[in-house]
């Protein structure tokens, strides 16, 4: 040490050093926890699915698939957007309604209903399904994807979901 320059030594020094390290860690942790949580939290949040009304279930013809469009509000972080989705609804003779996702489980094209053959046909790769969604022909690995639906006060409600294409089982995106 130079002349006239002093510095604490021994236990006194180690007290200062240890307290400084402790204080820095305290500040660091009290900042790190909220800051990391703040960045990560929205990533862990599940999209909250809403029931959207497609209209009156009575209006559906029995045994005839009907393409139905509806507008839903999608919340993407701070941004809200309105998206129009189309689904296929089929009313069974017992009054229950099956709602199919409009996306072909093979590779994600949009399929259509062939009124003459009474089959759903995908124009992209030729997958064919019957009115129950069962695969009748083509490369499709699984039946048409059904969407959660229910009837409340006569309204047909549906939850929109999307699934990975090309897999033998339904895996939600």
């Amino acid at each position: 040490m130079e002349d006239g320059l002093s510095t604490p030594v021994g236990t006194r020094r180690s007290f200062f050093v240890k307290t400084t390290v402790f204080i820095s860690s305290l500040i660091g942790i009290s900042l790190a926890v909220p800051l990391i949580g703040y960045v990560i939290a929205p990533a862990l949040q599940r999209r909250n699915k809403e029931w959207v009304s497609l209209g009156k279930a009575d209006a559906l013809p029995i045994g005839e698939p009907k393409a139905m469009d509806y507008t839903m509000t999608e919340k993407d972080g701070w941004q809200e957007s309105h998206a129009t989705k189309g689904v296929w609804a089929v009313k069974q003779p017992n009054g229950e309604v099956t709602v199919f996702s409009p996306i072909c489980p093979h590779l994600g094209c949009g399929y259509r209903w062939d009124q003459q053959d009474r089959l759903f046909k995908c124009p992209c790769h030729g997958s064919v399904y019957d009115i129950q969604g069962t695969v009748k022909a083509g490369p499709a690995p699984r039946p048409l994807d059904t969407l959660p639906s229910k009837i409340e006060n006569g309204d047909l409600l549906v939850q929109y979901e999307e699934f990975k294409s090309g897999l033998p089982q339904k895996v939600e995106l």
Partner: protein, 440 residues
């Protein structure tokens, strides 16, 4: 483990001399609580930089999204209100820390030769900090942000010759809008941070070249020096913890509200600047007529020129306060003026009539009982019965209103006002509200 890792690195990078330079800097007269203000300021600046970066994770600088993103941060993101609170209160705290730091340097005469350059860089850092405050205030794009910035920019317009040009340059056009928010954002998060980082480095570089001033008292200064580490570092750390604790407590207990979304057509909104601009805001109220425009730019110009030139204006080499009465007196005078203006301004702000909770309940009753289907109040409602906008001017008598609400016909024969089922408390609340309906 940590020390072995350090040794491993040290054997390769030879850190010892660096460590000595950084930590064994001599503090004349020994470590002291007097020297913590600069470190506190630096700490708060780092806190601002950190919380600012995190706010940027969600913030979008555009007029159609800025408000939504801040609202999202404040109300939806986990911990978002806390991060924003830290940034808001940190900005105030940094101003306090700079103020105390400057006071200490001023009182101790630490700006004198050979530390003139350090003082000048410090004054520039203060100006940059104020620019941070001004540009950051606009970013939430709420009513306060919009209108306060509008006023701030208009003040720049008073600068002779180049005023108009400066206003346009700041706004990025004729009006405060999309181009303003994006340039304020760029200034706030890119230009100013680079400038201030360079400024801080320069400030510290000069400190290390010239050395700390130490005590103004000769005998204490000659008593010997102490290394910066560990005692001064310990003191600095303790103060940082205290400062952090205060800022965090403020962020937790006094949430910084977001006002309504900026509405350029709503000219009724009265903006309030941040408290550190308030004394100036108050001062402008006293500048009469033609002096007003001059005061808006001339006073800050004189203030900053004076600060920058302080080491050259005050040429007395003596640092001892007892032999610097005139300079310290001038400084004290300045502080008295600033704090008087600040307190007048705060008093006026808080004198804005706060609504009595009973009055608010009364207002709610007016809605609940649909009074406005027959009465008009300040332009709302239908004129079937009398307009009540200034009813308390005509009828200031409390008893009359209480009686009237209980039984309208008893005090106003022939009135077709129905009796409403009001209990005592509701009668009181409604009457309290009615009595506020007067001019002036």
């Amino acid at each position: 483990m940590a020390s072995r890792l350090y040794q491993w690195i040290d054997r390769r990078l030879k850190l010892k001399p660096l460590e000595q330079t950084l930590l064994d800097e001599p503090i004349p007269g020994g470590a002291s609580w007097n020297y913590v203000f600069g470190s506190a300021t630096l700490f708060l600046f780092v806190l601002q930089a950190l919380t600012g970066m995190f706010l940027m994770v969600y913030y979008v600088p555009a007029t159609d999204h800025a408000y939504d993103t801040v609202h999202y941060i404040q109300h939806e993101v986990w911990g978002g209100w806390f991060v924003r609170g830290l940034h808001h209160w940190g900005a105030s705290a940094v101003m306090v820390a700079i103020g105390l730091h400057m006071l200490q340097v001023f009182f101790d005469g630490a700006y004198k030769r050979p530390r003139e350059l350090m003082w000048i860089v410090g004054v520039i850092l203060l100006a940059i900090m104020l620019a941070f405050g001004f540009t950051g205030y606009l970013l939430p794009w709420d009513q306060n942000a919009y209108w306060a910035t509008q006023v701030g920019i208009n003040m720049v317009g008073n600068v002779p010759l180049v005023g108009d040009f400066l206003v346009k340059a700041l706004r990025g056009g004729e009006t405060l809008g999309a181009l303003t928010i994006s340039r304020f954002f760029a200034i706030h998060v890119a230009f100013l941070p680079v400038l201030i980082a360079v400024g801080i480095m320069l400030h510290l570089f000069i400190l290390r070249r010239v050395g700390p001033a130490g005590p103004h008292d000769e005998t204490r200064a000659k008593a010997g020096s102490e290394t910066f580490y560990p005692r001064q570092v310990f003191m600095d750390a303790l103060v940082m913890l205290g400062v952090f604790g205060v800022v965090a407590m403020l962020a937790i207990s006094m949430e910084f509200p977001l006002a309504d979304r900026a509405d350029p057509s709503d000219h009724s909104f009265v903006p309030v600047p941040e408290w550190y601009f308030l004394f100036f805001y108050q001062l402008l109220k006293y500048a009469p007529g033609a002096w007003g425009p001059l005061a808006t730019w001339l006073l800050p110009a004189i203030f900053f020129t004076g600060l920058l030139l302080l080491p050259f204006l005050d040429r007395n080499p003596d640092r001892n306060p007892s032999s610097r009465r005139v300079v310290l007196g001038a400084g004290l005078g300045f502080l008295i003026v600033v704090f008087s203006l600040l307190s007048i301004s705060l008093r006026d702000l808080y004198a804005v009539p706060k609504r009595d909770p009973s009055v608010i309940r009364g207002m709610a009753l007016v809605e609940q009982f649909h009074c406005k289907t027959c009465h008009r109040i300040h332009g709302e409602g239908v004129n079937v019965g009398p307009d009540l906008s200034f009813v308390a001017d005509r009828r200031p008598d409390r008893e009359w209103h209480l009686q009237h609400f209980k039984n309208p016909q008893s005090v106003s024969p022939g009135s077709f006002m129905p009796k409403f089922p009001l209990n005592e408390k509701q009668l009181n609340d409604l009457t309290n509200y009615i009595l506020t309906l007067k001019s002036g």
